[in-house]
Symmetry: C2
Subunit: 337 residues, 2 copies
């Protein structure tokens, strides 16, 4: 396998990208292609004594800014490290692409250069959210499509279920529709239309509606919603994670005796940090793109990038795109809206 990675995507690039490329190549026995300014990459490797065995560079002259307009990847940044990586992937010069750069640009570029899987209306971005049960759930769509039709939600359910089964190893993933009540008739127009569609979607284990209250306790494996709601859930979850750790910190430093308590709780707090750590789960897979594309978090360090590469390898080994294509084709034959 040859995994392509954006050498300049993310706040800690290129050093943490190169460290991750080195570690991933050694651990997983794969080749890595790093995109970007080859001179700068070579310098960075040299300065940090990173061996480049099985690591190749693919030259790209620019870097798309984190806040750049998504469409700029097709225009002024069509030679950026992200665009070059996506084009290599589209041309079959690599098996998957990982980037810590702008989500919007990556989605635009992936859709334009790599294309959608046949039959997929809209690609979705999935995200793994930690839970109390320590098994994260897959939230799909977490922000690619703000205004959705019911049929799109049904496709998100199919793609999320395939991913959960193949890549996360969950045998029969519990797929739920995020809604404001558990009864079938609850919710807004979109949810009312999506429920019956999900009910009759073959090959998914649809368990009905899930209320957001049950998400943090691990009430489902795949949570299906439109991208606006998904992004609200993702960002509120992140906000509560920060709230939680800040509160804990201030609680454990308030007085001398609470500082002592902090020492006594060191092990438990370490466990909790690990459970809430987004980084170890890898990045956000783009579901519905013809080849595996993984969005790593913008603040990814070497460990997070390495986990995103591992996830990309799993997607390749499990042939995730063909599996999705088959399921979508199956469904397409039975249902047309």
């Amino acid at each position: 396998l040859n995994i392509i990675i954006d050498g300049f995507g993310g706040d800690l690039a290129p050093k943490q990208v190169l460290l991750a490329a080195r570690a991933a190549s050694d651990s997983y026995d794969v080749d890595i292609t790093v995109t970007g300014d080859s001179d700068r990459l070579a310098d960075c490797a040299k300065v940090n004594a990173i061996s480049l065995e099985r690591i190749a560079f693919a030259f790209a002259e620019t870097v798309i800014p984190m806040d750049g307009h998504p469409k700029s990847i097709l225009k002024e940044y069509s030679q950026s490290s992200m665009a070059v990586g996506l084009k290599l992937l589209a041309d079959g010069e690599g098996d998957a692409f990982v980037s810590g750069g702008s989500t919007g640009a990556l989605l635009m570029g992936a859709t334009f250069f790599v294309k959608r899987i046949r039959g997929v209306r809209r690609p979705a971005i999935a995200s793994l959210i930690p839970t109390q049960s320590r098994v994260p759930y897959l939230l799909v769509d977490m922000g690619a499509n703000h205004d959705c039709r019911a049929e799109m939600l049904a496709q998100f359910a199919v793609m999320g279920s395939v991913y959960s089964k193949a890549v996360l190893g969950i045998e029969s993933p519990r797929v739920a529709l995020v809604n404001i009540g558990t009864e079938e008739a609850k919710g807004d127009e979109l949810r009312k239309q999506a429920y019956p569609l999900l009910s009759k979607t073959p090959d998914i284990n649809f368990i009905g509606n899930i209320e957001p209250r049950s998400l943090p306790i691990g009430g489902c494996d795949v949570a299906v919603c439109d991208g606006f709601t998904g992004n609200v859930i993702l960002k509120l979850s992140e906000g509560f994670g920060e709230f939680f750790s800040r509160t804990l910190r201030s609680m454990l430093t308030a007085t001398p005796s609470s500082k002592l308590a902090g020492l006594l709780l060191k092990g438990q707090i370490g466990d909790l940090r690990l459970a809430l750590d987004y980084k170890k789960h890898g990045g956000a897979p783009f579901l519905g793109i013809a080849r595996p594309v993984i969005k790593a978090h913008g603040s990814s360090d070497a460990e997070a990038f390495k986990n995103a590469i591992r996830q990309a390898i799993l997607c390749c080994n499990q042939d995730i795109c063909r599996r999705i294509e088959r399921q979508i084709a199956k469904r397409g034959g039975e249902e047309q809206i």
Copy 2:
């Protein structure tokens, strides 16, 4: 003042309602009318030695179930403790109504019996959500209207701002649109249409979009959204509150040394519990109904009901409904969609 309260709304009624009525009448110097089966109310007061000074009963023969269909308040439950209370309020036999019963039925009944404030398109339910800064924010709409138009969101902003100022005592409440990005052009169609409307709404301190990540840290005083999104935020916030306290509990009971830590942290944990306690903030006010109606939490105890009564009194003293009417009228003259 005479505050009407549903004697049989909520899991702990009627005992906790009567205890709250007693305490509120004593503390706030008001009359209380309790609706429901007078014999059962009198028995309950007697058994629990609750004095009925300044407390009157208004007979109602049935109780609407928590999961009853909202419309049933107009039909088979039109003589329920909730319906009777709302009709007394509509007839001017009391100044405000508090109920711990079904939210949907209360909204339907309030709209039908008490009516909307002139010019209000749709009443909204507001909810106070605790934050890290210990000052809760007002979330509006938290579930009354699942499918909204931009104009409705602008009215929610006006009503929420008036409530925050008059009842919560915030001088210039920071009103924000809940969105998935901070820039003006972000979001789905509804948010894109609502932003410019909110920008030119007079007499509100509109601070722009707020990302859900900033809600738990107190990034605004009034968070405006459609009722579907609001209910997702409310329920996810409650879910994280439970997650937080369960995690803390298991953390502090895991080992002998963590139990010791728990003892050392007793004070801090008490403070936190208080900050996260929904009960002390009272209930959820219905904004846009012609007289004050407060929905108390279904699991309210005497303290929570008493705080909801206190809130109802504040709404009366601040003449909240007339204030909303004036602001809506002002806006109606400047803007028609």
